[in-house]
């Protein structure tokens, strides 16, 4: 049975690779800071293909998080177009964006952001339940098993280490098979060993399952694991190491 699943996942991976998963076309984001306009993103154009592992780097305030927020439908572009998995999400209303975040995007946050009243497995189930899917417990446990967290499945977040919480967060992000995994400073609250484990895991998911990943980071360790590095400065892409 698991052999069959692996076979299907490999076919899915082959089908996905090379397909554009995220297209930013001249995207700008201007904030008003006490009446003064601040250009966080300035006509950024970026294409990410399925199966890519992209690392956004740059100094603080360069626009990395803003780019991730816009790509994930958490924020809106002031100008330009955002196309996610062939769907133009630029002008979609909030309830449709919420649905896209639920079904097409996986988020991994710097602070893990697990729901404290739910156990690890319930946090993973959360996404599937929101989607109204069935067999949620079995699927959540499968995902935790993949991330070597099945033995801690019934612990609450407060009973887990930072690295373990981040694994649960990744399991939550991936359980619904999103087209894109967005990770904002995923190693910021982890020690070097936990960071190394996390990156090996992301790399494995990218290699074996073809999960498309975009991560924003300051961490050189993370940069080393990424296949493509995009450097931002003052809201503009100043360097792109290119695709696979």
């Amino acid at each position: 049975m698991s052999g069959e699943i692996e076979k299907i996942e490999k076919i899915e991976k082959i089908e996905k690779i090379g397909r554009p998963v995220l297209q930013l076309e001249g995207v700008s984001r201007v904030y008003a800071d006490e009446g003064v306009p601040v250009r966080a993103l300035d006509e950024v154009t970026l294409n990410v293909q399925a199966g890519e592992f992209v690392c956004l780097v740059g100094p603080s305030g360069s626009g990395k998080s803003t780019l991730l927020n816009i790509a994930g439908g958490l924020d809106r572009a002031s100008a330009g177009r955002v196309i996610l998995d062939s769907l133009d999400i630029t002008g979609l209303p909030e309830h449709q964006l919420a649905d896209i975040r639920l079904r097409r995007i996986g988020f991994v946050f710097q602070a893990f952001n697990l729901l404290p009243v739910l156990s690890a497995v319930e946090n993973v189930e959360f996404m599937l339940q929101l989607r109204g899917e069935r067999d949620v417990r079995a699927r959540a446990m499968d995902m935790l098993r993949l991330l070597d967290m099945s033995e801690l499945a019934h612990r609450r977040p407060a009973e887990l280490s930072g690295g373990q919480q981040q694994r649960v967060a990744i399991a939550r992000a991936l359980v619904g098979k999103p087209v894109l995994l967005l990770a904002d400073e995923p190693s910021a609250n982890l020690d070097s060993k936990a960071t190394e484990n996390l990156l090996s895991l992301l790399r494995r998911l990218n290699d074996e399952r073809g999960v498309s990943i975009i991560t924003a980071t300051h961490d050189p360790l993370v940069m080393r694991h990424a296949r493509r590095t995009v450097t931002l400065q003052d809201g503009r892409v100043v360097l792109d190491s290119g695709g696979r």
Binding site: L74, D99, F107, N113, L115, V117, Q129, L130, R131
Partner: protein, 403 residues
Amino acid sequence: MPFTLLVRLSYRNLFRHARRNLILLVSIAVAIAGVVFLNALLRGMQADLVRSVRINLTGDYRVTAPGYLEDPQAGRGFELTPQQIGQLEALWPGSWSARLVVPIVISSERKNKGVLLVGIDPVQEAGSFFAEVALVGETIADAHATRLLVGQELLTQLRSGVGKRVVLTGQDGNGAAIERGFTIGGAFDAEGKNLEQQFVFIGREAMQAFLRTRLVTEVSILLSDPRHDLRVQNHLHAIFNGLTVTHWRDGNPQTAALVDMMEFATLIWFSIVMIALAFGLVNALVTAVMERRREFGIMRCLGMQRSTVLSQVMLESFFIMLAGVVLGMAAGWAGVSLTGGEIDLGRFAEGVAIAGLPSVISLQIDTRDLLSVMLLSCVLGVFASLVPAWRANRHSLLQAIAR
């Protein structure tokens, strides 16, 4: 909507700030217990008031001849046929009585007073106050009894006594003046002096003979439920074609108004308590929601709709309210049970007599009241949670998840 997920989140969040929620729960429970107890007291007073009217020869429904209520005379009566008796007995066995009631003047050697002379068949009076009075001397044994049963207060006013003679003066069935001497066979002591001054009892057939009539002036039906039932009224109209059928509320508008006022007072009291509770609930929930602003933001980031976040906050509020209401009702119920179902107002006997209430007030818990309190409380809890729910949702996603 992922209802099981919302229930799980709401339920778990209740235990997250256990002490704060416990205080809120106790506040709700105390308020609800107060509402239940006061409701039971008001319901008891209402029931006592209504019962005292209904058993004072009014019954629930009264059948009279047209014009009798405006000008009660022996001539304004009706003859009760065997067929009507059969129908009454078939529909309300043992719950009806036929009486002859006319105003009359009773005179002793020293005083005279206007009273209502009531001709009864004591077998039919099991439900009226007649069956409950304390007696001195003899009672009305049957419908042929010619010796009078007079109230203690009236006896005092007439300066007469049991075994003495009085003269009754009035009009017979044809409107002719009539006068005759009777012996006082017994005296009754009723709840409230009005009854003792107002009524003089005699056997119905003896009274018909005295007034030279075969008529009765009223048929009274006393049922178990004092509420107006159109079907009963229609049955009575069918049995007594052409006669007047009145409900006790029609004949006692002041009591009916008082009963309605009590109902309204209950509602006002309940509203005040609930509004106070709503403020407490809103305050506690707003605090809880503000503390979890980031958490709600995360849930929305992950794809939860605003409406689902709103539902979750409302569900939490509903759970707290429901738990508080159930606890409060149990406490209120226990409080009523501890009193043994009645409060003795013997120390305020004069006051309650003036108010027309018995000295012992019963406490009555009405299941419909409990259900209304439960329903309204939960609805109010949900409405009260709209403010915190709105606050949980009003921030933009980036504001909500910002540290």
